[in-house]
């Protein structure tokens, strides 16, 4: 309660502190950039920065969706497998069938149909998982752990274990094209992040996401349809995974059944590093973008510094823990 003795100054100070709490991931990111640059000046070359951002885009797109899911206290472990399924669906459409079984002279469809197939596959799979979470009352961890296995199995079945490669240049543009100096995947990521940000902060649905994550029972009692919000949220991450699968297949010029393996953990790490709480209710897309970039910078920087492979794994683990510990520390101080 603000009593009479509180001046505007103390309030302003409180706000500044809260801001600092939000900035923690950014500060950590900048620190990392400074260290890497001082050890290897080439790190800051524009080509390297664009490399990093292009690499980040693929899982960054999913991380935006994961932000929604984690905000409602959910989790999605199936995204990696979904990336593979979506990529293969797109590939099948683009090639007019599974390689070999159809004519291989490229009697396929336009890339837009391929993209649509990927997005549909992702969204439908996401919605199905959302329904299982909402209606069967199975914890999201279990549903999407099942999904991880199921969708990988489906991806393997579609591609018969292999990959489908060789798309039209227009298709490939989505993964390798440039607009000016800016890679196309980065633009896709930026658009997805912007939409995600607006939805979360400015719409009723977005605020319901926060309410459900903050206190699901209270949300129910306030007349929020918790099940619908839950299902929609998993639909969103499914859509994002589908989009990411399409862009990845375009970038690789190949849709692999093993694509996206392990993405779930990278993506969740990015979201959490960005300050979104696994307990739901706090966080947002801006943090996630920073978290995703931080993850990308880390991987790129360690390679540039010639860190031996095993050491790299150890360092990545330690730095991720340090990033989140730093965030937690700053937040505690600024409370």
């Amino acid at each position: 309660m603000i009593t009479g003795t509180d001046t505007e100054a103390t309030l302003a100070r409180a706000r500044r502190f809260a801001l600092l709490g939000k900035l923690a991931p950014l500060i950590f990111l900048l620190g990392l950039v400074v260290i890497f640059t001082s050890l290897q000046p080439r790190f800051l070359l524009p080509i390297n920065l664009f490399n990093i951002l292009r690499q980040v885009s693929i899982f960054g797109i999913i991380a935006v969706g994961m932000t929604f899911v984690i905000l409602i206290r959910g989790i999605d472990l199936s995204v990696g497998s979904l990336v593979a399924v979506a990529g293969l669906c797109a590939a099948v459409v683009a090639k007019g069938g599974i390689d070999g079984s159809f004519s291989s002279d490229g009697a396929g469809w336009h890339w837009s149909f391929a993209a649509l197939a990927a997005l549909t596959a992702g969204t439908v799979a996401g919605l199905l998982q959302g329904m299982a979470v909402a209606w069967l009352a199975v914890p999201a961890f279990v549903v999407t752990l099942g999904g991880l296995t199921i969708f990988r199995g489906i991806a393997l079945a579609i591609g018969n274990g292999g990959n489908i490669a060789g798309f039209s240049p227009e298709y490939g543009w989505w993964g390798t094209g440039l607009v000016g100096p800016v890679p196309v995947p980065l633009i896709v990521f930026a658009v997805v992040a912007l939409i995600g940000y607006l939805v979360l902060t400015q719409t009723r649905f977005g605020r319901s996401v926060y309410a459900v994550g903050s206190n699901p029972e209270a949300a129910r009692l306030s007349g929020i349809n918790v099940n619908r919000v839950t299902i929609a949220t998993y639909g969103i991450i499914g859509f994002c995974a589908g989009l990411s699968g399409f862009v990845l297949s375009a970038r690789l010029n190949s849709a692999e059944a093993v694509a996206g393996t392990g993405y779930e953990l990278t993506v969740i790490a990015a979201v959490v590093i960005g300050g979104t709480s696994l307990h739901g209710g706090t966080g947002g897309v801006i943090g996630t973008v920073i978290g995703a970039i931080l993850t990308g910078v880390l991987i790129n920087g360690l390679v540039l510094l010639n860190t031996p492979p095993y050491t790299q794994q150890i360092m990545i683990g330690l730095i991720i823990i340090a990033a989140v510990a730093f965030d937690a520390f700053i937040k505690r101080q600024s409370r």
Binding site: G161, N163, L248, A257, L304, N306
Partner: protein
Amino acid sequence: QSEEEVTLLVSPLSFAFPHFVFMVEQMEDEAALIGNVNIIVADGQLSSPKQITDIEAAIVQGVDGIIVAPTDADSLAGAVRMAIENGIPVVTVDRPVNGVPDVLANVAADNYIGAVAQGEQVIADFPEGATIVNLQGIPGDKTANDRNGGAHEALDAAGDSYIFVSEQAANFSRDEGLSVTENILTGLGDAPAVIIAANDDMALGAVQAVEARGLTGQVAIYGYDGSKDALRAVRDGTLAGTVDQFPGEQGRTAVRILVDHIRNGTVPESDNILLAPIAITSANLDMAERISLIGE
């Protein structure tokens, strides 16, 4: 002969497979032999995007040459092309990348051909036909697919007397090779004559399952890779055979070609140097690359 310093990026598809660990060790050894050659290694972690990331970073770093064992023949084309466009010569090992004709050379011992050799060894040992259990690698993994395909090609072509009674994935791990084989043996009732595995670890797991069931000597088990453990087992008779695709030789050759090209502009006579993988049994154990490492 110029002695300028040369830095190479080596990017194997995974550092968790002894096959590639050995290959890279041999490369480092060769580099030391040549002199003034630095080798940087990056772990592909079985992921195409990760390997692309590593190659892109190496380009930024300005390495002199790249040796890559690609996770996938199609996916890495873009990154390899980019390296070449930036004036960095690339040699592929283990398998080629598709659609990039400017690759300096591909030094490989084809997994598919090696698996054909594995299958043919089975046919040679069991001319009358056999019931076969097939332990596959990680589903969807390129190596696993090739090895599975090659074995099938040889054995399917050999007629109806070669019957695959069970085919299961055991993910290249000894742990799963053991437990999956245990489960298969129970399910089959009659022990199979042959177990083929897509790597030595799974084969050695199968050896233990067979031993535990008291079937030692009744089931012939074939691995793949020619690892130290497998060669010992072949010597001791617990493993019927394995396949050597000479990772060390591949690695050494790749380093030689690349360094030669960077220092002297030499272009190799052929841009596709294929080593023929061979099946190793107790009869030709001395032909295995790692035979000197297994001790007595």
